[in-house]
Symmetry: C2
Subunit: 101 residues, 2 copies
Amino acid sequence: MARIQLKPVHFKAQAQVFKALGHPGRLLIVDELSRGERCVCDLAALVGSEMPTVSRHLSILKNAGIVDDDKRGTQVFYRLMTPCVMNFFKCVSAVRNREGA
Amino acid sequence: MARIQLKPVHFKAQAQVFKALGHPGRLLIVDELSRGERCVCDLAALVGSEMPTVSRHLSILKNAGIVDDDKRGTQVFYRLMTPCVMNFFKCVSAVRNREGA
DNA sequence: TTGACATTTCGCGAAATAGCTAATAAGCGT
DNA sequence: ACGCTTATTAGCTATTTCGCGAAATGTCAA
């Protein structure tokens, strides 16, 4: 059983990934992107915020390495980079269910 | 292949778990707790912050359902509730490595 | 080039977060 | 009860994050 040993130096970078996921709207975006690439306008409609706000969320996700973008014409399509992120949700659900909340 | 379908209602609760992990010091704490229970004073020494600060971090982790505490005498021992949280780190490392950062 | 559209960047005020010190609570030994 | 130790809570300030509207950027089509 391989021991997972974290190097302290990397905690800050790792925290950035978790921080990027620590927002309901961004979680909604990641969930949506797990079903395929979407343009910013689609995602803005999905989360119900203004486009500048969603664009900022996407830049945070991209900066964390969770998504990547692909400009095609006037629109920009985002896609999920690391599918394993979706596995988080199963564990997180387990965390939540443990305490009837 | 089971589809992971998230209910929007739960995004806020899920985000709380990620937010709790989105801090270098708390990540360090979780990593340490993966090797066994620790008292607050041990963890304070580990992260190098004042005890009130660490106590607050622990309450955030507890509130998110990630850790639980056990008072024994004058000290309080914390332990990791959901080991699957550690699996996050593998994926997060993959996220980070993808971009030479 | 002008106009329309999609997206990003900027600047702001409001809200949340982080960390400290001081104060409070609670357990243990004497 | 008293003092000592451990931990949490409260109060405060500094920093960060959030979400908006306005402005800037970029692309395509006419």
